[in-house]
């Protein structure tokens, strides 16, 4: 198994470097120049030149690429001038927040996707089955930013001011301003309250996708002989479905992890902007607008490596769950 892992990792390195190179040239060949972003009245020409030198932007493209590649291999991702901090510090600030949000969204999506998919498969052709299908497809076809705005409107604003519901959710930020003074229990509740709307906005689209795959996969498995054997052994329907059938139906779902991670990261660009979530997706977009080359490249480098890692984890997970697969 470890030989397989090594082979996959070695294969991933050129892949991720390739992506970073594409982004490097895409960003550097484009018109516009970062120092202009700092202009304000009275900035003389020498000042402009001075800033360019300060940020090392006066070199030709290929020199900068060679220097950037060399630095990156030694782990130095350069300096982000829109945040005026080393790029790694910026990533250290934002990447965990995106991972936290993505992990919750993925967890919720898979949890409810599998539950709903299984329920639909067990209750095939019933009214609830087709009802779920239509509702799920409705969410699957919705742009996540529109869903996010609607959630804010309803579960945050109307819930509190118009419908006066007992619970309503904060519309932005990771924690409330009183977070530091709350008890541990209070802090967890506060964090979760802040996570509900962004996670829902990201997860609903994925849940719909996963539920559809799960339903198909479950229907396939329920027809198998070993499920009938399990019933013939006298096991209850719940054990048959949730132990014997579910384990086998989950196998194809695992590969979805690799498929959905890029979609998830793409979604964070909107969700983090709308919910003021200090995450990587939003930072990259802002970095692109401010021509913060090092941050854009480092960000896409990490995004790409996380996606490759996710695919690798999905394959390893697949081998763990399905004994028939053995990677040599």
């Amino acid at each position: 198994m470890t030989k397989y892992l090594l082979r996959r990792l070695l294969g991933a390195v050129p892949l991720v470097l390739g992506i970073a190179t594409i982004v490097f040239f895409a960003v550097n060949l484009a018109p516009g120049d970062p120092t202009l972003y700092f202009l304000s009245p009275g900035m003389t020409q020498e000042v402009v030149e001075q800033t360019r030198i300060n940020f090392g932007l006066d070199q030709p493209v290929h020199v900068r690429y060679a220097r950037w590649l060399g630095a990156m291999l030694t782990g130095d991702f350069g300096y982000s001038f829109s945040h005026s901090r080393p790029v790694l510090d910026v990533l250290a600030d934002f990447l965990p927040n995106t991972l936290l949000l993505s992990a919750c969204a993925l967890g919720v999506a898979f949890f409810f996707g599998i539950l709903v998919g299984t329920y639909q498969a067990v209750r095939q052709y019933s009214l609830s089955d087709s009802a779920f299908s239509v509702v799920l497809l409705f969410f699957y076809s919705m742009p996540s930013f529109w869903l996010a705005l609607m959630l804010i409107l309803t579960l945050s604003l109307f819930a509190r001011n118009v419908w006066e519901w007992p619970i309503w959710f904060p519309a932005s930020g990771m924690t409330s301003t009183e977070y530091d003074f709350l008890s541990f229990g209070g802090q967890v509740r506060d964090r979760i309250a802040h996570l509900v709307l962004p996670t829902l906005s990201l997860a609903l689209v994925l849940t719909a996708g996963i539920a559809r795959y799960m339903r198909g996969s479950m229907l396939e498995v329920i027809r198998q002989d070993y499920v009938r054997t399990a019933r013939a052994k006298g096991l209850s329907e719940r054990v048959v479905v949730f132990k014997h059938a579910l384990r086998n139906a989950l196998l194809p779902i695992i590969t979805l992890v690799g498929l959905y991670i890029p979609v998830l990261f793409g979604g964070t660009v909107f969700i983090e902007t709308i919910f003021a979530w200090p995450g990587m997706g939003r930072t990259i977009v802002e970095a692109i607008n401010t021509r913060d080359y090092p941050l854009v490249m480092a960000g896409s480098f990490f995004f790409a490596s996380m996606v490759v890692a996710a695919n690798l984890i999905a394959d390893v997970l697949y081998a763990v769950v399905d004994p028939r697969i053995r990677y040599e």
């Binding site: 970062p34 900035m43 000042v47 901090r85 510090d89 904060p170 932005s172 949730f242 919910f275 003021a276």
Partner: protein, 568 residues
């Protein structure tokens, strides 16, 4: 089965619960500085217990779409909210302006100007301490002056210090609390000292000036001497400040609120929701069409006041269609700017005829001619200038056939500038002018209009935030035609003369007369079609009391804000 559900639910919660991202910045400078600040604050709290007045206590939360881009590092800051945090929150400036824009003592107890007007001597207060216990003295002021006037620092507002003698000769420390700065006599010479936050010399003296921009002091661990002490900054999320118990009693003592939090929320719909659901107390600069919601909510109050930024369309006089001043005047007359103020700003704004803001002492709208909305006069002016619609396609052409058609560029993401371009397109069409709105990405647009050899634009929708010392030299003076901001390429000796005179007239009454002449010349030349001075709007929760906001800024008297004890 129950076990399966439990594990799944547990893992989901655990993943959501963990991942705390408050962290003390890893930078060695910060790790050295922050403990000293904490220690001194501990000591200060015991020395200056909170007075029993009920107004003390509580937290005020301000929400805005933008990050405090340069933090408290006044050596590199160009961003409006950064300068305000330096002036009124974390640092101190030598002087402050009162409501009539007259300089008042602040860090400088008093100051005198030499007879020949070539030097100012400031006397520094002796009861102001940095948040790490060091006393603020003249060396800090001298150090800060040297930093901002050294070209190596690339201080964005370097133009402020045009008429001051550069370091090191320009500044002299006489004794611990007295410093003299030499300058050539010019108008509003105190204004730069109102905007410049004084930096701690004992912490930054050995940082090379060209490295200041990348120094962690600004955003990760600023140490100031102002009413609020820096606690924490989570990038793109929030800034947290605490009241500074050691703030001099003579200047009002520690602020009423215990904590001030500044939250960054990029989406304006979310910001409004957070204000309406009382998660934030102040929503900075909501859009005019969100004002109605704030007015309808009993808990909220809408502050609206004229501000010192204005929106305009600059015309590139190098282009054949726009080289003739009559054409530029006709364009302005064909645009119903009053209606635009009503339409886009819902009335929260005043039509502008020049770069002088309404609250400014130089503002005078009685005897300065204005170009009112008058399409027929515009058509006549265009005919007179030789532009007639010869082929009946609805667009005028010059004698040699060039069509009176040009693009109006604006940057992506700015809704108001997009609105201006789109409305002009519709209104200019009625007088036979074809204006094509064209969106350009922000940095690309700057490069196109700032590069002297390029100047790749016809019309561009832009906006300036002026300081109180108005200075159009960089914009219209023909000597500076190759400077980044001389977009419109004006060649007008009359305007050059008036500009030079303005920059050296010290006395305000005398200057008013020159300003009137200058504004008349600008209307004649019409390099810009000045659109409006948008009112600054702020949504404030009624639980926040004592807040005064005007053209000088929103954080003006934040140290005097207090939270209504009942709703804390």
């Amino acid at each position: 089965m129950k076990k399966v559900l439990a594990i799944a639910a547990g893992s989901v919660l655990a993943a959501c619960g963990g991942g705390d991202s408050t962290e003390v910045s890893g930078d060695p400078f910060c790790q050295a500085v922050l403990p000293r600040v904490a220690a001194y604050m501990e000591q200060a709290r015991s020395q200056h217990p909170t007075p029993s007045d009920p107004r003390y206590g509580g937290t005020v939360v301000i929400g805005s779409i933008g990050e405090v881009a340069d933090g408290l590092n006044s050596a590199i800051s160009a961003d409006h909210s950064s300068t305000q945090h330096q002036q009124f929150v974390g640092l101190m400036t030598l002087v402050n302006y009162d409501a009539q824009l007259n300089a008042q003592p602040y860090l400088a107890e008093s100051w005198e100007i030499s007879e020949d007007g070539r030097a100012i001597t400031f006397h520094i207060r002796q009861d102001v301490y940095w948040h790490d216990g060091e006393r603020t003295d003249a060396n800090d002021v001298a150090f800060t002056y040297e930093v901002v006037t050294d070209p190596l620092t690339a201080f964005p507002n370097a133009a402020f210090w045009d008429h001051y003698v550069k370091e090191p000769e320009g500044v002299e420390v006489i004794d611990d609390f007295t410093v003299r700065i030499s300058l050539e006599p010019h108008s509003e010479f105190l204004d730069p000292f109102r905007t410049l936050g004084i930096l701690p010399e004992h912490l930054l003296r050995d940082v090379p000036h060209d490295q200041l921009a990348q120094h962690p002091f600004g955003e990760q661990c600023p140490v100031g001497n102002g009413p609020f002490v820096f606690v924490e900054h989570r990038s793109q999320d929030r800034w947290v400040f605490e009241a500074n118990p050691a703030f001099p009693a003579a200047l009002g003592g520690r602020p009423f609120v215990d904590r001030y939090v500044y939250r960054i929320i990029p989406e304006q719909t979310t910001l409004l929701t957070e204000l309406l659901t009382e998660n934030i107390d102040v929503y900075l600069a909501p859009r005019p069409d969100q004002a109605q919601q704030i007015l309808d909510d009993p808990n909220l109050e809408l502050l609206a006041y004229t501000f010192r930024n204005y929106v305009f369309v600059g015309w590139n006089s190098r282009k054949p269609q726009l080289s003739d001043a009559r054409v530029r005047r006709a364009i302005t007359m064909a645009t119903n700017r009053e209606e635009i103020v009503q339409a886009i700003l819902l009335g929260y704004g005043t039509v502008a005829n020049s770069g002088v803001p309404p609250f400014h002492w130089a503002y005078d709208d009685e005897n300065v001619p204005t170009l009112a909305y008058d399409p027929t006069a515009a058509r006549a002016l265009l005919d007179e200038a030789g532009w007639r619609d010869r082929d009946g396609d609805g667009v005028r052409e010059s004698a040699d056939g060039t069509r009176l058609s040009f693009s109006i560029k604006y940057n992506t993401g700015n809704q108001q500038r997009q609105d201006v371009a789109e409305i002009m397109q519709a209104q200019l069409a009625q007088v036979g002018i074809e204006a094509r709105p064209q969106v350009v990405e922000w940095a690309t647009l700057l490069q196109q209009i700032n590069t002297p050899t390029l100047r790749d634009f016809d019309g561009v929708v832009m906006g300036w935030v002026t300081e109180f010392k108005l200075n159009d030299m960089d914009l219209f003076h023909s000597a500076r035609i190759d400077q980044p901001y001389a977009w419109v390429g004006t060649h007008n000796p009359e305007i050059d003369r008036l500009l030079e005179q303005l920059s050296v007239t010290v006395d305000r009454e005398e200057a008013k007369e020159v300003w009137r002449e200058y504004q008349a010349a600008i209307v004649e030349e019409q390099p810009y079609t000045y659109f409006y001075f948008p009112d600054r709007l702020d949504g404030v929760n009624r639980r926040v009391r004592g807040a005064v906001m005007d053209a000088r800024g929103e954080w003006l008297n934040i140290k005097d804000w207090y939270i209504d004890p009942a709703s804390r």
